[in-house]
C-alpha cells in the first residue's frame, strides 16, 4: 500500500539469485563446526578476558583516585563490561555475561550516580575477578547466585536514589 506520503519500494532479490540452489551444510553441521571453532579459541579468550579485567581494574583504580571520580574511567568500565557481557556466554562463562550485563546497566542508567557509588562498581569487579580466578564455567553454585542477587538488589536500591 502506498499513499502520497509513503512509498513502498520492492527491491529486486539479487541475493536469492546469487546464492542459487546449491545445497549447503545443514544447521546442525553449522552449529557443530562453529562451536568447534569457538572451542579452539578458548585459550585466546582466557587472554582476552584477563585484558578486559586489567582494563576494568585500572579504570576503577583511576576512578577511586580522583575526586570527583574520573568519568572517562567510569565510561571505560561501562564499555568493557558490555564487551564481557557480549562474549562470556559464547566461551562458557555465563556468569561474566550476567555480571557484565548488570554492571553495564548500572552505569548506563546514570553515570553520575554510578560514579558516586564506586563501592558497588568495585563489588561487581570483585565478582568478575572471582569468576576468572576460579575459572567458574557454567552458572556457578548457590554462593555465586547469592552474590549476584545481592549485587542486583544493591544496584536497584542505589539506582532509585
Amino acid at each position: 500500500m502506498s499513499d502520497k506520503n509513503t512509498q513502498i519500494i520492492k527491491v529486486p532479490n539479487l541475493l536469492r539469485a546469487k546464492v542459487g540452489n546449491r545445497p549447503g551444510p545443514d544447521l546442525d553441521q553449522i552449529v557443530e563446526q562453529a562451536e568447534a571453532a569457538i572451542e579452539d579459541m578458548q585459550d585466546q579468550y582466557e587472554g582476552w578476558i584477563r585484558d578486559y579485567l586489567e582494563t576494568i581494574n585500572t579504570a576503577l583504580s583511576e576512578a577511586q583516585a580522583s575526586v570527583p571520580p574520573n568519568l572517562d574511567a567510569i565510561a571505560r568500565i561501562r564499555k568493557t563490561s558490555h564487551e564481557m557481557k557480549g562474549q562470556g556466554l559464547t566461551f562458557g562463562y555465563p556468569l561474566l555475561t550476567q555480571v557484565g550485563h548488570m554492571l553495564h546497566g548500572f552505569i548506563e542508567r546514570d553515570e553520575a550516580n554510578a560514579a558516586r557509588n564506586l563501592d558497588l562498581i568495585a563489588a561487581h569487579v570483585d565478582f568478575m575477578n572471582l569468576v576468572v580466578q576460579k575459572e567458574i564455567h557454567g552458572d556457578g553454585g548457590p554462593e555465586e547466585e547469592q552474590l549476584l542477587g545481592a549485587l542486583e538488589e544493591a544496584a536497584r536500591k542505589l539506582s532509585k536514589k
Binding site: N5, I8, I9, L27, I30, G86
Partner: protein, 169 residues
C-alpha cells in the same frame, strides 16, 4: 528452511572489538562464507561499502565516535550512500524494548542479541535471502518494512522486545 549454500555471499562485519571479528568470522566460516571483510569503525565501514559492495552488513551498535545506528542511518539516508538497500543485521547487547524499537526505526533489517546465537544468525541470514521485505520511504522513515507480515488490518499494540528480537528484528 532448506539448507542452501551461502558460500557466494560477501559480508562486511563492523565492530570496534577485534575479538568479536574473530567470533563472527568463525560462525560465518562454518556457513562456508569466506568472503568477509572487517571494519572497526563506522567511517571505515562506509568507505568499505563504497569500494567493495558487500551483500550483507553485520554491525555492532556500541561503537564510538559513530555508533552502529549512526552508521545505519548514514547508509539508509545519506545523500552519498553507495547502497541504501543493503541488508543490515545489527548486533546488540541492548535488549530493552525501547532500544530494540530504536534499532528497528533506524532502518536495520534484523536485530540479533549478543552473546551471538549461531542458530539465530543463520536464521536471520536466511530470512534476508528468502523473505526480503519491501522498503518503505516516508517523511520519517526509510528502511525495510517494519512489519514482518504485510497486514494492513493490524491495529494492535507493538510487540514485546523479545518477540521483536526473535522475529523482526
Amino acid at each position: 528452511m532448506a539448507s542452501i549454500s551461502l558460500e557466494a555471499l560477501s559480508i562486511l562485519v563492523v565492530d570496534d572489538n577485534k575479538h568479536m571479528h574473530m567470533v563472527v568470522k568463525a560462525i560465518l566460516n562454518s556457513m562456508r562464507i569466506k568472503n568477509i571483510r572487517f571494519s572497526d569503525n563506522a567511517a571505515d565501514a562506509f568507505m568499505e561499502l563504497r569500494n567493495w559492495h558487500p551483500d550483507i552488513v553485520i554491525t555492532d551498535w556500541a561503537m564510538e565516535p559513530l555508533d552502529g545506528l549512526d552508521f545505519v542511518r548514514l547508509v539508509r539516508k545519506g545523500a552519498d550512500s553507495p547502497n541504501p538497500y543493503v541488508p543490515i543485521i545489527l548486533l546488540t547487547g541492548h535488549t530493552e524494548m525501547h532500544r530494540v524499537l530504536e534499532a528497528r526505526d533506524s532502518g536495520v533489517n534484523e536485530v540479533l542479541a549478543k552473546p551471538i546465537s549461531i542458530k539465530s544468525l543463520y536464521s536471520r541470514m536466511l530470512s534476508i535471502i528468502e523473505q526480503p521485505r519491501p522498503f518503505v520511504k516516508s517523511k520519517s522513515y526509510f528502511g525495510p518494512c517494519r512489519r514482518r507480515s504485510d497486514d494492513p488490518t493490524y491495529k494492535g499494540p507493538e510487540r514485546r522486545a523479545d518477540a521483536l528480537l526473535d522475529s523482526f528484528g
